[in-house]
């Protein structure tokens, strides 16, 4: 699989995406894995990448965009994610133990609203619906690791202690065995 110099999806990403193909009887099923791979690397899914994924999966770009836009998870190139994405749960179990207040205070502390990224590009703040760690309410999700029993101070410490994990994410594709 070759890529021309105009492509935004790199050879490495293309290989990771191609490794998913043997898992499914349809190429379209690789849409979500492909979008995850691209956003993990690029912190967004640019329009050009949508077109390239469509090309790889033999879809129309609108089909890829239709799936992408449904989830509210993937970022447009105008609003890329920071190095880390911090989700604060606002659903009932967390709300009953201060989750909403935690989100508001973190928003003040970081100087950004949910959905925005700090000017240094380090962290994007988000609100989340139930993260599935209700025994540790209020909880937050840092990238894809959940942390329970959080306070503003513990989340700030978490942010400061989390080394950048970019480039270390594993997307083990391929056919097993």
């Amino acid at each position: 699989m070759s890529s021309s110099s105009n492509n935004v999806v790199t050879d490495k990403m293309r290989q990771a995406i191609a490794d998913y193909l043997p898992r499914y009887p349809s190429k379209q099923a690789v849409t979500l894995p492909a979008l995850h791979i691209i956003q993990d690397e690029m912190r967004c899914v640019p329009q050009r990448a949508i077109e390239e994924v469509a090309d790889m999966l033999e879809l129309h770009p609108s089909q890829v965009h239709d799936t992408l836009s449904f989830y509210g998870f993937f970022r447009h190139e105008q609003t890329p994610l920071g190095q880390h994405r911090l989700w604060v749960c606002r659903s009932l179990s967390c709300m009953l133990r201060g989750g909403e207040q935690l989100l508001v205070e973190l928003s003040k502390k970081l100087g950004i609203k949910p959905g925005e990224t700090t000017p240094d590009g380090k962290v994007t703040l988000e609100f989340a619906e139930c993260l599935g760690k209700c025994e540790g309410a209020p909880c937050v999700l840092m990238d894809d690791e959940c942390h329970g029993d959080q306070t503003v101070d513990s989340v700030i410490a978490l942010l400061e202690n989390t080394a950048s994990t970019l480039g270390q994410r594993s997307w083990a594709g391929g056919h097993h065995g």
């Binding site: 349809s26 139930c130 025994e135």
Partner: protein, 444 residues
């Protein structure tokens, strides 16, 4: 239950609970190897005869679901494992996957033997990154040991298991929404029939089972039907439609209790037992005003209903939607039900997939009405309006494709029926509630 009686959570506190070596040392995969010498029909019959009902929310008999697959189908048949656990208050699947991944894989293998499925997709919510990494490692161990792949243990049975990560959408827990998402499309639930057993993933016969259900399958093969039926509640002899509530269940408690957590208990414990004996009672010496029995969509029990047994029938007898995921959320007597209901409606408005108009518009309008009430601009007629909207959306009134709308409506219906005086008082006194999040994110 005494530690020695535990099945589902028996291994989670062991230091090697995640490794294949530890699992094999505990006799893991022996029942799967035994099942390889059984026919698929024998495997299915065992699960069917155990009375195992699905743990994901609907409580549908598991073995019966498998029998809906077409006979003698040339294949492929797919197994989809519903690991999109997203119902507010629910977290038992996460514990099972993070702490004992081989237990789940063992259940999947048995289920695939019974259904003749040759590929299983674990549809895992994105937020469970730790589960993802744990499962990927466990699956790799199984391939290395010849427990997955082609001609497993020298038989004609082949099986691949893949983890497929979602992208933060509650609707992917609806089984046909899950299938659409797996196929790379927006997760719009399908009109049924055809049910997935006839036409599911990639237009092929498909079974969708919940994580906890499949873990139960593993133990039914290890310990037998009589063990399974020695736990829980037998069918009500006066109700020919009751399939019983057999087996262990993972109960969860969160919200205003001293010790939130997850416990393996016989089906049929009461909400009061769960709160007092497991969760350490209501916090700060307060009383429970309301308890959600099994995840947000199951609605509310009142303080007077706490002795309701949390089996598959109990919550329904007090007007709740059902047992759901057995995830209790406890709300203390200092909390406003107006605020709780607003939180509920906002969740479902955010998570409605938008396909059916009554759900898309109904969840949004219920949230708007509650916002109006919470800003001191409500009128008593708003309560009738809330009930009217709630009564008109869902599978039950026949206006939507999937049950999300029923789940969104149920807390509203229960609140209007059981807590109406509190809402009337709130409106008449023109009380208000702060909503700092709305100021930050608008109406999302």
């Amino acid at each position: 239950m005494a530690d020695s009686d535990l099945a589902l959570l028996a291994r989670i506190n062991k230091p090697d609970s995640q490794s294949l070596v530890g699992y094999l040392a505990d006799g893991g995969y022996e029942s799967f190897k035994k099942a390889l010498s059984m026919s698929p029909n024998e495997v299915t019959d065992l699960v069917k005869n155990s009375g195992l009902r699905g743990r994901g929310g609907a409580g549908f008999p598991c073995g019966l679901k498998w029998t809906f697959l077409p006979k003698d189908h040339p294949g492929p048949i797919y197994m989809c494992v519903n690991a999109d656990e997203s119902e507010p208050g629910t977290f038992n699947n996460r514990i099972l996957m993070e702490m004992d991944p081989h237990q789940l894989l063992g259940g999947i293998m048995l289920a695939c033997r019974g259904t003749r499925a040759t590929t299983a997709y674990i549809y895992l919510r994105y937020e469970y990154g730790r589960s993802f990494r744990t499962l990927e490692k466990a699956i790799a161990e199984c391939y290395a040991q010849g427990l997955l792949g082609k001609n497993i243990q020298g038989t004609d049975f082949s099986l691949d298991i893949y983890v497929h990560r979602g992208a933060a959408a509650y609707i992917c827990g609806e089984e046909t929404g899950l299938i659409e998402s797996l196929e790379g499309k927006r997760a719009w639930p399908r009109v049924k029939p055809p049910f997935p057993a006839i036409e599911g993933a990639f237009r092929k016969p498909t079974v969708v089972n919940n994580v906890e259900t499949l873990c139960c399958v593993k133990h039914i093969f290890d310990r037998g039907i009589s063990w399974f039926q020695s736990i829980g509640v037998p069918p009500d002899p006066n109700n020919p439609r009751d399939a019983g509530s057999y087996g262990p269940k993972l109960y969860q408690a969160s919200g205003h209790v001293n010790r939130p957590g997850c416990w393996e208990l016989p089906l049929g414990v009461t909400a009061r037992e769960l709160i007092e004996e497991q969760a350490g009672g209501v916090w700060k010496g307060r009383q429970a005003k309301a308890v959600i029995p099994g995840g947000l969509s199951t609605g509310f029990m009142t303080h007077a209903e706490l002795d309701t047994p949390l089996d598959f029938n109990g919550p329904g007898k007090v007007g709740c939607l059902g047992l759901g995921t057995a995830a209790a959320v406890i709300i203390d007597d200092q909390t406003s039900m107006v605020d709780v209901l607003y939180n509920s409606c906002r969740f479902f408005a955010h998570e409605s997939c938008g396909q059916c108009t009554p759900c898309r518009e109904g969840t949004t309008w219920m949230t708007k009405i509650l916002h109006r009430i919470r800003t001191g601009h409500g009128a008593l007629r708003d309560l009738d309006l809330l009930k009217e909207v709630a009564d008109s959306m869902g599978i039950m009134p026949g206006t939507t494709i999937c049950g999300l709308a029923d789940g969104a409506a149920w807390p509203v219906k229960n609140a209007m029926q059981k807590f109406r005086p509190e809402f009337e008082d709130y409106i008449q006194k023109k009380l208000t509630s702060q909503d700092p999040i709305r100021e930050l994110v608008g109406t999302h």
